[in-house]
């Protein structure tokens, strides 16, 4: 008989740690190098946009990171090194670490300091667009996780909101990639088209700025559109966008609770007990909330909050490189065209509603 006992195996074969540690170290080093490469490419892209008069880089770094990961994926598979570095490819872990640190960007004080106009518009826009996208996604039978990620991205602030929502509802990596790519592909033309339409409609700068802030998904593209229209539009656009951004934390927390208690619950099962809710609850959301509370209490000086933001970017870049390294064309293809239809439908709704709300709030009320 050739059966080997566990104690013999421990003595003769490498343990799990010994087996994975070299690959883990090599993989982490590779990810660090790729992150620095992403930073360099991002810097070059930002410089080329700046030369064209666009102050902020609208091609956000998650997309660059995913593309770099995709190229690395092909190279590693061709060279047969993929399995060696596999232990370091921990997309969800990096995303969750980044989300805990992201809490430092959320401040209740900032929300209250935004002023009534921006706050009212943010509440109306985030609420209406989120539920419209959720409803439309349901009509076209999208998975609940994809609906949640998409609704957060369209209603709040693009890629960051998509990442935060994905963590809260345990969405698949492919869903985050899909939505991030859609956000950027739609935001780029919007950055140019929205100021042109605002000019054609002869919108006052504050109304135009509020419209850009309310309807364009990425912060960089919002600032870009505002810059094209003028300094007043840019200032209002930034404030409105910022007021929507602070909703990331509230929406993520609510989504985590909703998915644990409703979506992921067996329909025939009795109402889950607090113990079951606790077991299923994504615990890192508590870390996110704790850091957000500390940030709201102004525990971190502003210069250190900026450094914490860099740490978030590091974690998200690592995660998106891993998404590229783990990329599955079949998974994306299986999603089909329906998410694109829902996304474009939600964007049209968002654009029309934001124009009406911006006009009423900034053109009539304030």
């Amino acid at each position: 008989m050739t059966t080997t006992t566990a104690s013999q195996a421990t003595a003769e074969q490498p343990t799990a740690i010994e087996h994975t540690l070299p690959g883990l170290i090599a993989g982490v080093l590779l990810l660090i190098v790729l992150t620095l490469l992403v930073a360099e490419i991002d810097r070059a892209i930002a410089n080329s946009f700046r030369a064209q008069g666009v102050a902020q880089n609208p091609l956000e770094y998650p997309l660059t990171a995913a593309v770099i990961g995709l190229i690395a994926n092909a190279v590693l598979r061709l060279t047969g090194l993929y399995q060696r570095v596999r232990p370091a490819i921990r997309t969800e872990l990096y995303l969750k670490i980044g989300l805990v640190i992201l809490g430092a960007r959320i401040s209740v004080g900032d929300l209250l300091a935004l002023g009534a106009g921006g706050l009212i518009q943010a509440v109306i826009m985030v609420g209406s667009v989120f539920f419209f996208t959720w409803w439309l996604g349901g009509k076209l039978k999208l998975p609940d996780t994809l609906r949640a990620v998409m609704a957060s991205a369209v209603s709040i602030c693009g890629a960051s909101a998509a990442i935060a929502a994905a963590g809260a509802v345990q969405a698949r990596k492919e869903e985050v990639t899909y939505i991030t790519a859609l956000v950027i592909v739609v935001a780029l033309p919007m950055m140019v088209l929205a100021p042109a339409v605002a000019t054609a409609l002869n919108l006052p700068p504050d109304v135009a700025g509020a419209w850009f802030g309310g309807n364009i998904d990425t912060t960089a593209a919002v600032v870009g559109a505002g810059t094209v229209y003028g300094p007043e539009a840019q200032a209002v656009a930034s404030v409105v966008k910022l007021s929507q951004n602070v909703f990331i934390g509230f929406v993520s927390f609510a989504l985590a609770i909703y998915f644990v208690t409703v979506v992921n619950r067996d329909k025939d099962a009795p109402r889950p007990s607090p113990k079951v809710i606790w077991q299923r609850f994504p615990k890192f959301v508590l870390g996110f909330v704790l850091v957000a509370v500390l940030a709201s209490l102004k525990v971190f000086p502003s210069e250190l909050a900026r450094e914490l933001n860099t740490a978030t970017q590091w974690a998200f870049t690592l995660a998106f490189i891993c998404i590229g390294l783990d990329f599955s064309v079949a998974e994306i293809r299986s999603a089909g065209i329906r998410p694109v239809i829902v996304f474009l439908g939600a964007t049209v709704f968002n654009t029309a509603l934001a124009l009406v709300v911006a006009y009423i709030i900034f053109g009539v009320l304030f």
């Binding site: 006992t5 566990a6 104690s7 421990t10 992150t35 620095l36 930073a39 991002d42 810097r43 930002a46 902020q56 880089n57 770094y61 921990r90 969800e92 872990l93 969750k96 670490i97 980044g98 989300l99 805990v100 640190i101 809490g103 430092a104 960089a220 994504p282 615990k283 890192f284 508590l286 870390g287 996110f288 704790l290 850091v291 500390l294 525990v299 971190f300 000086p301 210069e303 250190l304 909050a305 900026r306 450094e307 914490l308 860099t310 740490a311 970017q313 590091w314 974690a315 870049t317």
Partner: protein
């Protein structure tokens, strides 16, 4: 036969808790200033005849620059290391910006708060003066300031 002890795997931390712990450790290390206070940027502006003051962290590695009437101006002998309680007096006179370390702040300016140095800008020129004190983050790119936007 394998013993019960050898079959037991060590308790494993779930990915959620691992991410929470790592995230919080990073927040504590950076947020408490253990890696340094982050990049500093302090500007003092004074119109003609005005005096202004600002409290700065007692750090070394400051880069000092000045503008006179919006144009870049040279600033002589500006200390790049500031000590706790130090008073730096920057004066613009006859179109030139000069620096001296004073034992006490000039009359009418309060001493620096605890754990801070103080820079006082006295503008005796006919045009506005602006002095900027900057430091980089303790650990510069590539670890920090990854994406410059």
């Amino acid at each position: 036969m394998a013993s019960a002890v050898s079959q037991q795997s060590p308790p494993r931390l779930s990915e959620d808790w691992l991410a929470t712990i790592i995230g919080l450790i990073i927040v504590v290390i950076i947020g408490s200033g253990l890696l340094g206070p982050g990049a500093q940027n302090v500007s003092l502006s004074a119109e003609a005849g005005q005096t202004t003051a600002a409290a700065l962290r007692p750090l070394s590695g400051w880069r000092v620059s000045a503008t006179l009437d919006g144009e870049s101006a040279s600033i002589e002998d500006a200390p790049t290391a500031l000590a706790d309680g130090q008073n730096v007096l920057i004066t613009c006179r006859d179109g030139a910006v000069s620096t001296e370390t004073a034992a006490a702040p000039p009359e009418g300016v309060t001493p620096p708060p605890e754990n801070r140095a103080q820079v006082v800008l006295v503008n005796e020129c006919a045009a506005p003066v602006r002095v900027t004190y900057q430091t980089r983050a303790l650990i510069p790119w590539p670890v920090f300031n990854l994406f410059s936007r």
